[in-house]
């Protein structure tokens, strides 16, 4: 499961080489931070939680047996830490209803997105992702981080493949719905 480079890096960290851990943090910090910010919705919270996640990883690394991909193991710690933080915060984001999704026009949305400048499009996608619930944003993000591998996503989230399929479908629908609303608003603003 682990590459030789990863094995070497882990054994260096286990022997107390802090420079090796610094390399490890640099390699995974963007992925962990992106997951945290999408689930928690706040940069400050995400920064704090991401730091705690890496401290947990450092402490748990001696117990890591290498029976899964190191990234999957990291995502599991990150996902659970974010869920724990959400429980502590006792704050839930506004839920999007799945009402009128039958009429979504994907072709029109694609065209509208294509017309945008890349930076504008990325900003809009980030805004839409921020409007999903923590669980939906987390699962959707991890699904793409894990390169759409449901077995690895199962290991990261501790949810069965069937549950994941249902949740992924709902998350996709919600995201498309949010995007449609945003695009309509943008188009209306541009026509004014």
């Amino acid at each position: 499961m682990l590459t030789n480079k990863e094995k070497e890096l882990i054994s260096e960290i286990r022997s107390g080489n802090t420079m090796a851990f610094s390399d490890f943090v640099d390699r995974y910090k963007d992925l962990v931070f992106t997951l945290s910010i999408r689930m928690l919705g706040s940069r400050e919270e995400a920064e704090e939680v991401s730091q705690d996640i890496f401290i947990k990883i450092y402490k748990s690394l001696p117990k890591f047996k290498g029976d899964s991909k190191i990234s999957t193991w990291i995502y599991r710690i990150a996902y659970n830490s974010c869920l724990d933080r959400i429980k502590k915060m006792k704050k839930t984001r506004i839920q999007t209803d799945l009402g009128h999704l039958e009429q979504i026009a994907y072709a029109e949305m694609d065209t509208a997105l294509d017309r945008m400048v890349r930076e504008e499009r990325q900003e809009l996608i980030s805004r839409c992702l921020a409007m999903l619930s923590a669980e939906d944003a987390g699962i959707l993000t991890l699904f793409y981080f894990e390169e759409k591998n449901l077995q690895e996503l199962e290991e990261s989230t501790n949810l069965s493949v069937n549950t994941l399929k249902v949740r992924l479908f709902r998350a996709r629908k919600k995201l498309a719905n949010i995007m449609e609303k945003h695009l309509t608003k943008e188009i209306l603003l541009n026509h004014e």
Partner: protein, 136 residues
């Protein structure tokens, strides 16, 4: 929603997520993580750990009290009886300060003691400073 619609949705979200940018934490993120780890490791190194556990201390204390109670019940508190009847404690202190009457000290000896005392008090803060620098 039929299968074709599901596929459209999947493709649409795939293309969206492929463009979703990764966020980066603050520039000193790695440094802060390492600082926190270092602080936690130091805390663990200097954490007070008693040589004897609470259970061991309690057992030793209970055994000692039990022994005292046993001695008291067996031999009583009267010093004329039991284990302590042959002790003549007063004899230990007789003439113990007798040597003082004939003692005279040389001036050199007195200066040596004063100098030793002075050196001792100079060394205490100096050593403390040195140790603080090397340990921390």
């Amino acid at each position: 929603m039929n299968r074709r619609e599901d596929k459209k949705l999947e493709n649409f979200v795939d293309s969206m997520m492929a463009e979703a940018p990764l966020d980066s934490p603050s520039f000193d993120f790695t440094e802060n993580v390492l600082k926190k780890i270092e602080a936690e490791t130091r805390k663990e190194v200097f954490q007070y750990k008693p040589i004897l556990s609470k259970t061991a201390m309690f057992t030793v204390f209970t055994s000692f009290v039990a022994l005292l109670v046993f001695v008291w019940l067996k031999f009583g508190l009267d010093s004329g009886q039991g284990w302590f009847k042959n002790f003549q404690i007063q004899e230990w202190f007789q003439n113990s300060w007798g040597w003082k009457e004939n003692y005279t000290s040389a001036k050199t000896m007195m200066y040596a003691f004063l100098f030793f005392g002075l050196m001792f008090f100079v060394q205490v803060p100096w050593l403390k400073k040195q140790l603080n620098r090397t340990v921390f």
